[in-house]
Amino acid sequence: MEIKYGLISSDSHGQLGKDAYTSRMSRAKWGDRIPHVIEIRDEKFQFPVERWTVNGEIQGGNVCNCPTAMEKRSYYPQRWEEVPLEVYDPVNRLKALDRDRVDAEVLFPNGPGGTFFYGDAEFELACVRAYNDALAEFRQVSDRFIPLSAIPFMSSIEIIVAEVERAVKAGHNGINMLGDPSVAAKGLKNLSDPFWYPLWEACQQLGVGVHLHASAGLAGKLSLPQWKGYTRRQSHCVSTLRNFCTATQIISYLIFSGVLDRFPRLNWVFAETGLGWVSSVLEACDHEWEKRHLWTEGILTRPSALFRRQVYVDFWFETVGIQLRDYIGVDNMLWESDFPHITSTYPNSWNAVEHSLAGVPAEDREKVLFRNAARLYKLN
């Protein structure tokens, strides 16, 4: 892949087209359970609105989460015809990348696509396969797209591994994991459980990283009860702000689980979590490791060294973490735009970049803006 602008977004959201699932899943077998867009009435709007429905359950308060791609920023489309092609059509989406002067982007899900927990492993697997096939088409259009595979969590580990291998073959370049599957859904195992070892082994072999996005499925489960008195804006502020509380804990969990030493070539990427907190969490882990002599307890490698060897973290607006980069690890930092979500730097990402990186030497700049990502995703 050619680096033209010198900027790679390690966290963007790829929207699938409205027919992505209906054209790939058996109508005879799944009927109306297939993810698709339907028209409904919503008392908040004068006109009939459209929503995604999965397994007969209506999703969210819009038909596509893409406010920064809209002419009026902060407007969430209510009907599919309002959704810009640049959000879900790969050929047109390249234009949005050029407008923002971004070379490539890692694609996390948008709309239905993260998890499909409806109490039915076979249905989940069918949805995951359709999702992975549809998202792989982005990569088939251009190597500027870096898709991440969804996981059929409720299946056996053999089926999970087979699906990831299939997805990577089709062009995926990583997997999108939950921070603690056992908290996110009943019956699943936590990250340290040996159940997952074959998946970590497969990802290590395939050379693709494990990705956790924002709260990684733990929002609302691992948090203060949200106050009902908040307005929508306040509520959004509070819930986005506290997402990194989850990342701090999952990174500590990984460090103390022994998984990083067991799979020493497997990379873990924490998206939309920011950087500034990382040095204090590593300092806390190192501090506890020293005070409690944890090398006698099977944690042989110093926590901060484990982190630098195998963990990556993303940033977008901040300056705190940039100033602390030598303590975090400048080789472990990735820039992201979060297109097309509300917090995104699009379409003025370079303004945000200059704000964050003012005064940073060229070598470090290039690392965090694209070289680290190019190395991690083997973009050559």
Binding site: S192, L218, V238, Y253, S257, W277, Q323
Partner: protein, 376 residues
């Protein structure tokens, strides 16, 4: 105030001894519901109330003063007196070169959450009052270097307010309240206006309101089944501190600070690094979400700097980004006697942490801010 060493620790813990409650609560009225220690069949001691183990802690938290920090005492006779006896504590402070120590509980909960879980408000009040009286009678009267902070019955508000007034009149200098009372028992969300008397009373009396980390175990990820006890404890230490991220996020947007502009709030055992990031993030996100349009006259960072404090104990790197929090908003601590404490080598830790910081800023963080906040 007399300073010999130039250090005030803004976050330490007292260990409640076996007679804190039994000596002060009516046996006739409360029977075996009074918090007390019972020897178990395996020879270990445990704190119990009404036949139930007090869940929030083991027998004692003294890891920081034991030769093996991965252990906690199992029987009362193994608990070092410096954690529960005021005179011995003063010696431990001298050994570490600390002038004043601001006190938080242990069995009553590191975040003072233990008795909030009781379903009997009268029992809750009786337990709280016994703790508050003990801290005055056996600690504060021994030396002004031991700075007492009261705990509070979380509900009803009349109990909370009356107890704060009573305790402060007896000499308490701070108020510890669990940050997520609605997770302890069925009470309203902390943002509801029914809590206004709590904020108003602290503001009125000029005492800081302290949220210590660990108030909501539900925010904290549980250790994996494969974690050894020492690794699980280390993990618990890290996630207890970061769990305050959610508490701070809620508090920056709840409007309580706007409505009570003279209220001072301490986020104890928080650590600074994530704090600086959270404050920068709060400013950015409130802007992205357009919160100004909903009447937020101050940015979260301005609000924080006007009214809030973080504590630090071993943070080195994070001090480099102290300007995001404000040098006037940082309190140094030793976290004595938890396993995470820098005791007895706090001086060395300070050398490492504060080495290249200008004297005037150093003075502020190591004692000046705390002296002002607690009116010492």
């Amino acid at each position: 105030m007399e300073l010999k060493y130039g250090l005030i620790s803004a976050d330490d813990h007292v260990q409640e001894h076996p007679e804190v409650w039994t000596l002060r609560m009516s046996k006739q009225k409360w029977g075996d519901r009074i918090p007390h220690i019972e020897r178990q069949p395996d020879g270990n001691d445990l704190w119990v109330m009404g036949g139930q183990k007090i869940k929030s802690s083991g027998l004692a938290a003294a890891g920081g003063v034991l030769s093996d920090r991965t252990q906690e005492p199992k029987r009362w006779e193994d608990v070092p007196p410096m954690v529960y006896n005021a005179r011995e504590r003063l010696k431990a402070m001298d050994a570490n070169g600390v002038d004043y120590s601001v006190l938080y509980p242990t069995i009553a909960g590191l975040a003072a959450e233990t008795f909030g879980k009781l379903d009997d408000p009268d029992l809750e009040l009786a337990c709280v009052q016994a703790y508050n009286d003990w801290l005055i009678e056996e600690w504060a009267t021994v030396s002004p270097r031991l700075v007492p902070q009261c705990i509070v019955p979380i509900w009803p508000m009349e109990h909370a307010v009356a107890e704060i007034r009573r305790a402060v009149a007896r000499g308490h200098k701070g108020v510890i309240y669990p940050a997520s009372p609605m997770e302890l028992r069925d009470v309203p969300h902390i943002n509801e206006p029914v809590y206004d008397p709590l904020w108003a009373t602290c503001e009125d009396l000029g005492v800081p309101l302290c949220f210590h980390s660990g108030a909501s175990p539900k925010i904290q990820l549980q250790p994996g089944a494969s974690f050894s006890p020492a690794v699980a404890a280390a993990f618990g230490g890290v996630v207890r501190s970061v769990s305050s991220i959610a508490v701070v996020a809620n508090f920056l947007f709840s409007r309580v600070l706007y409505r009570f502009p003279k209220l001072k709030v301490v986020f104890a055992e928080s650590s600074l690094g994530w704090g600086a990031y959270e404050i920068e993030y709060a400013d950015y996100q409130s802007d992205a979400d357009g919160l100004q349009s909903e009447g937020y006259p101050l940015k979260p960072s301005e609000l924080f700097q006007r009214q809030c404090y973080f504590t630090c104990w071993y943070d080195r790197r994070s001090l480099k980004v102290r300007r995001y929090l404000g040098t006037a908003n940082i309190l140094w601590a030793t976290n004595f006697p938890l396993a995470t404490s820098t005791w007895p080598n706090s001086r060395q830790h300070i050398e490492l942490s504060f080495g290249d910081i200008p004297e005037d800023e150093k003075r502020q963080m190591l004692w000046g801010n705390a002296a002002r906040l607690y009116s010492l």
